[in-house]
């Protein structure tokens, strides 16, 4: 047994490929836990960042700077009464949030956080991810249908139309990225997520900058389509608060509602991870070609540690700026503890073996975090599209451009 466990450690591959069930389960648990924590962090971050966009403070009471607010929310949602409307289809109503949640979590199976840090590496990774992530529309439709109410029904119909239309443009953009992977000596491309990042490494360019501006346009289409795919502002029609009260989850409350939210944020992180993998070089560090050599390697490998130290410093400044009133004693202590943990993590990240192993994951997460911030930024800035305009943008603007980019990429790939 122990041998079985240790045998994987020497292998330079993902547990899925190695066929090692134990480590696969460990990876799954780590990814599941990590994503859940990321969702919680994102929840806090969104409320704070959105509040600061809107000249508010956001949560300030539960924990220092509202750090414990997501936990308080979770407790509240878990203890709320679980209401299923009488007229609803109970079974479908019950299963709909689970479908959304499962669909958004399953995508993580193929997402590579590093050359070996993935649950598995399917050779049809991209297809798998497109297929599974589009399953969530099923949950949305089921939720709207099962609620047996007008607003959810309209919301879910909007959602299904929207997700299906944007998936096509999204798929076209993805195909153009896949075409780029075949620009090597053997001329064979790959659908494997790890393979795509390795292709970027071999070609020494992020696909974002490949055939400029083709790669960039494809990326932009994906970036727009993924916002629509996850039902976020400015494409949040299915849950348009001002029109449809809450869209497809109007009738949901408590735990079931929180599952929808969890699914939504998980899907946001998932599609951002895909965008990062396909166009932004996945786990590759910035400037791998120009800033080479052991010195730069060292500098970049130290960055994760410094980032955490910087975060710790920010938290520590927060400690200093806390009101000195005894009422804030516990909060100040909590924030100091948080700063200490961040600092400790930063110091741990300086230790050479950890440093080398964690670096890939750090760059990957950092790139995804940029997308998460963009999501919040969109939400603070844009009004909401109308349903027909959304369709128009999807079919008449994004899809033709995506096809054009695809054709041009193919031509350039043959010519060059």
């Amino acid at each position: 047994m122990l041998e079985y466990i240790t045998s994987y450690l020497g292998m330079n591959t993902t547990p899925g490929q190695a066929g090692n069930v134990f480590w696969a389960v460990v990876y799954i648990l780590v990814v599941f836990g990590g994503v859940s924590v990321a969702v919680i962090a994102m929840n806090w971050l969104e409320r704070k960042a959105l509040a600061h966009f809107q000249i508010r403070l956001g949560p300030m009471r539960v924990g220092p700077h509202g750090l414990l607010q997501p936990i308080a929310d979770a407790v509240k949602l878990l203890t709320k009464e679980d209401i299923i409307p009488d007229e609803a289809d109970h079974f479908v109503f019950w299963i709909a949030p689970l479908i959304i949640l499962c669909a958004s979590f399953t995508v993580y199976i193929v997402i590579p956080f590093g050359p070996t840090h993935a649950i598995t590496d399917l050779n049809i990774g991209v297809l798998f991810m497109l297929g599974v992530s589009s399953l969530s529309v099923l949950g949305v439709v089921m939720a709207g249908w099962a609620s047996n109410s007008h607003y959810p029904l309209i919301g879910s119909l909007r959602s299904s139309a929207q997700m299906i239309s944007y998936e096509i443009a999204m798929g076209m953009a993805v195909v153009s990225a896949i075409l780029m992977t075949s620009l090597n000596k053997s001329g064979t491309g790959t659908l494997s997520m790890i393979g795509i990042v390795e292709a970027q490494q071999q070609q020494q360019v992020w696909f974002l900058f490949k055939f400029f501006p083709l790669g960039f346009v494809a990326f932009a289409i994906f970036a727009i389509a993924m916002v629509a795919e996850t039902n976020r502002a400015p494409f949040d029609l299915p849950e348009a608060e001002s029109e449809l009260t809450a869209g497809f989850h109007t009738e949901y409350s408590g735990l079931r509602w929180s599952l929808f939210m969890l699914g939504e944020y998980t899907a946001m992180i998932a599609v951002s991870s895909i965008a990062v993998t396909l166009w932004l070089g996945g786990w590759l560090r910035p400037f791998p070609n120009t800033l080479t050599g052991p010195t730069w390697d060292l500098v970049f490998s130290l960055l994760p540690g410094f980032t955490f130290l910087a975060l710790a410093l920010i938290a520590f400044v927060g400690v200093i700026r806390m009101p000195k009133h005894p009422y804030f004693k516990i909060q100040t202590a909590g924030l100091a503890g948080f700063a200490a943990v961040l600092g400790l993590v930063g110091i741990v990240l300086f230790i050479p073996p950890v440093r080398d192993r964690i670096q890939d994951i750090f760059w990957f997460v950092a790139k995804v975090a940029v997308f998460m911030y963009l999501y919040i930024w969109y939400r603070a800035t844009f009004p909401r599209y109308r349903f027909d305009q959304l369709m128009k943008v999807g079919w008449k603007v994004l899809l033709p451009i995506a096809i054009g980019v695809l054709i041009l990429t193919a031509i350039l790939g043959v010519v060059l």
Partner: protein, 384 residues
Amino acid sequence: MTDPTTYLSHLELGEPDKTFLDSNELIINMGPQHPATHGVLRVILKLDGEKVLGTECVIGYLHRGVEKIAENRTYTMFNPYVDRMDYVAAVSNGLGYCEAVEKLLNIQAPPRANYIRVILTELNRMASHQLWLGTHALDIGAMTPLFYTFRDREEILKIFEKYCGARLTTHAFRIGGCQYETYEGFERDVKKFLDFVPPRIDEYEELLTTNRIWLERTRNVGKISAADCKALGVTGPVLRASGVKWDIRKAQPYAAYPEFQFEIPTGANGDTYDRYMVRMQEMRQSLRIIRQAVEGIPEGPIMAKVPKVMKPPVGEVYHSIEAPKGELGYFVVSDGSTQPYRVRVRPPSFVNLQALDVMVRGQLVADVIAVIGTLDIVLGEVDR
């Protein structure tokens, strides 16, 4: 109340079509508890998919019988009640009522009182438009302008609070003038506000005016022609956005308005975007009026000679002013006693709301929200 179809007599609900699938029209009840109907408006929508085939407004959820109350109060006692109608523009309401009764009593408010009235009313117009902008943008999905406008509206409410002690239902004016002299530093506060707010208006415009999504959501949405406006009695920015240059401040001047220079912004298409632009320009025009008023405010008494017990001569009077939302008219009938025989209010929101059906027919559900927002209704005033 149980069967929503009882309200739908004029929506011509056809026989259900059971021949192919179940492709009937959908009847949706929007409100009275809905995040975007601006209070307790209930709209029954007949939909074909997302397309609106017809609407029916159900009002009265906020009916408080203000007009009836007037018949049991003296002229002075009724004054605070009018603030509760359009509670986001309480000062305008008070001005209209006070001037109507003054007309009935045949007295004139002194010039200084008129200037104070103009300053406060125009400040209130700003506040009302800011609230409209914030909620309208929120309805269309832009969250952030709401907080910006509320931040700046706060400065106006602070001035009101310093002037008369109340922020919202101000009861700022009395019949015959104003009760309170301006507080010390009033002019400084107002001037500070005048300097502070234009960049903020630019900020709102930066977020919305050229925003592609905002343009798509508002251009050619909720169009109404000038002829339809006139037929329905629509007034205010909605009428002006359709190209009719009608502003009671210019057409039938009251208070101190004849003494000020300002323009009447108008639109051309009568769509939601034009109404947005008209209101944005109106804010700037209001600032212009306030600046002139603050700089030229005369010294003198603030109260005309008003009898302690008001007994207007037998007669009737109609007086209307340009409230932020349109023509606000008071029809006051006196039977010679201390209490009005009848007070009839012509609220702009109530009349403008009639245009909803014309504006949204054939458009989408999302446009209903945009149009309700752009009509700028206050249910307190619709239901009275």
